[in-house]
């Protein structure tokens, strides 16, 4: 199982690189024209500039050769320069990635710890606590980032005035975007934990533990919860993937200079090298996240190691 997935990773990466490479052709955008438009806006380009640019881009060579050159540059960490501001694409993407990563870690950490605790309490207490957690998490899943984000801004920034509505200057700027991203994670992990802990509590081993005189609290947190966590870990990889989608929206709403917004701006401006680099980076990230989540699962759940 693990090996099979490992073998798939390079294939996926190759497919993604081909897609990223031919991407400019799919868009039907002439790179020369796109650069000129981005740099000169409405002014008419002069023919000498056009020729110089074409030579610089190497548009006259065959496509296979160009793919080879592109891949070689890719492995050297050279993703070319932005059409819009000539900035180094790799640097641009990596600085965005570091911002997005801090946001994702914060959201994931907050969402998982709160969600798992709430789910465990709901499964153990039943009654009204269960109903509240179930209801709130159900609602949390139905509230997308682009609804929660503006509503949080309205409440915390406009009405209460305690947090900045957008920007990226200090730690206070992290709160609203991270909360917005964490909401679905909190809800999903609460639901899943609740279901899994309920299942685990019904397992015969729990009766054995109780019969041996283990306290109720210890049964819950030391025996039932670890069993439940294996399935939470199993889906965290999938959640991280959807977090990247959410990050685009959150970064646009809160004006956060993360990877999502870098790519979003590139799409809006037809900045092809940035989109190409973003595609490659996104696939590489997805492969790594999947791998880490598989390894994590194997570490937690002994049954995964053999299958």
């Amino acid at each position: 199982m693990l090996l099979k997935r490992l073998a798939l990773a390079p294939v996926l990466f190759f497919l993604a690189s081909v897609l990223a490479f031919i991407f400019p052709r799919l868009t039907g955008v002439d790179p020369t024209q796109a650069i000129l438009r981005a740099r000169l806006s409405e002014r008419a380009p002069d023919p000498a500039t056009v020729r110089a640019l074409e030579a610089e881009l190497g548009t006259d060579r065959s496509i296979v050769v160009r793919y080879g050159i592109w891949m070689r540059d890719l492995f050297r960490g050279d993703l070319g320069n932005s059409y819009v501001d000539r900035a180094d694409v790799a640097e641009k993407l990596l600085s965005g990635l570091s911002v997005t990563a801090s946001l994702l870690f914060l959201a994931l950490g907050f969402g998982l710890s709160v969600g798992v605790s709430l789910g465990t309490i709901a499964a153990a207490k039943k009654g009204w606590a269960d109903r509240v957690v179930t209801g709130v998490s159900q609602a949390g899943i139905s509230v997308p980032e682009y609804v929660l984000g503006p509503v949080l801004v309205l409440v915390a920034a406009v009405w209460l005035g305690i947090l900045p509505p957008s920007g990226w200057q200090g730690p206070s700027n992290l709160v609203l975007p991270a909360l917005t991203l964490a909401a679905p994670i909190t809800a999903l992990s609460a639901q899943l934990t609740r279901a899994e802990v309920s299942d685990a509590l019904a397992h015969p081993s729990i009766n054995t533990a109780k019969a041996k005189g283990v306290s109720g609290r210890s049964v819950l947190w030391r025996h039932a919860l670890p069993n439940a966590l294996t399935s939470v870990v199993a889906v965290v990889g999938l959640w991280v993937a959807s977090l990247f989608g959410g990050a685009v929206i959150v970064e646009v709403i809160f004006d956060v200079p993360g990877l999502g917004r870098v790519i979003y701006n590139a799409v809006i401006a037809n900045d092809l090298p940035v989109i190409q680099g973003g595609l490659v980076l996104a696939v590489a990230l997805a492969v790594v996240v999947n791998l880490v989540s598989d390894l994590l699962q194997a570490a937690i759940d002994p049954r995964m190691r053999t299958g």
């Binding site: 609804v147 639901q191 279901a195 959410g246 685009v248 646009v252 979003y264 799409v267 989109i275």
Partner: protein, 290 residues
């Protein structure tokens, strides 16, 4: 996503008290059915009820709050919010329904064919689904918007490309499970073709869980459509679409918070309703809750 695998082994619901309670239709389900009915009515007849043309501007009355003439107030161009919400209902919900139908048909077909024929087709479909099922529609939409230019075609393609996979996965699991039953074996024995077996034996038995999934997918697709339009990658202004309206209202939310709260509320209410229905149906047909 290990959940669907468990579904394949879930079997027929039992007859214990637990199973009875799970099948009982709760009050909140009836509420969901009621709201769903009202929403469907608005989608079908909303534009007829709209008090004003949704695109008619009146800058003199921009950002005004609710009044007798404009029940939900006006937006930044003085357009009637109620009329735009009604026009948007048809667009958001209509597109979501269309996208779910199209992706459902393709996904179910692929899943059934993979389940019946096995071999290369099965591994091709299953590997594709395993690999790409977590791909967020927003990211696909971003890439497609760069290729096709932002707009409705790019939006619907992105949603379709991601939405068919859960259908294929569930249809595959159900087909494998149902194929082990004796009546399918009997059908094979009397020489029924694969097409006949799928249509007359597999599909009717698989329909329940698939309909439940379609409800959940409807919610997912609705959120994706509104999200992409919110980012300016789907429905373009001046089109009235809930996500696009939300995005247009953000700069003015200090002066008229209702402009944000109304489309936001509509999106959440619709999603909650459809999800609740999907879950109820899912419990009835032993679809897992996650």
């Amino acid at each position: 996503m290990t959940k669907t695998v468990r579904l394949g082994q879930a079997g027929v619901a039992g007859t214990t008290d637990e199973a009875y309670r799970e099948r009982r239709v709760s009050g909140s389900t009836w509420a969901a059915v009621g709201i769903f009915g009202a929403l469907s009515f608005l989608v079908l007849f909303g534009p007829l009820l709209a008090p004003h043309p949704p695109a008619a501007t009146n800058l003199g009355a921009a950002l005004e709050g609710p009044s007798g003439e404009h029940l939900l107030g006006n937006d930044h161009l003085g357009r009637d919010v109620l009329s735009r919400m009604l026009a948007g209902a048809r667009l958001s919900v209509g597109f979501a329904a269309g996208a779910v139908a199209a992706s459902g048909v393709v996904g179910i077909l692929l899943g059934m064919v993979a389940g019946r024929l096995g071999g290369v087709i099965s591994s091709l479909v299953n590997r594709t689904v395993d690999t790409f099922i977590a791909l967020p529609a927003i990211l696909v939409g971003l890439v497609l918007a760069a290729i096709l230019d932002p707009g409705i075609p790019a939006l619907l393609t992105a949603v379709f490309l991601t939405a068919w996979m859960p259908f294929a996965r569930l249809a595959y699991a159900l087909t494998v499970k149902i194929s082990a039953r004796e009546y399918v074996e009997a059908a094979v024995a009397i020489g029924a073709t694969e097409a006949q077996i799928m249509r007359r034996h597999i599909l009717p038995s698989a329909a329940g869980p698939l309909v439940a999934l379609a409800c959940l997918q409807f919610a997912y697709v609705l959120l994706a459509i509104a999200g992409l339009s919110f980012l300016g990658l789907g429905a373009q202004p001046p089109t009235a679409e809930w996500g696009a309206m939300l995005a247009e209202a953000r700069p003015y939310m200090e002066r008229n918070p209702l402009l944000v709260l109304i489309p936001a509320g509509a999106i959440v209410l619709t999603t909650l309703t459809v999800t609740a229905l999907g879950r109820t149906l899912g419990r009835r047909w032993a679809l897992p809750s996650a």
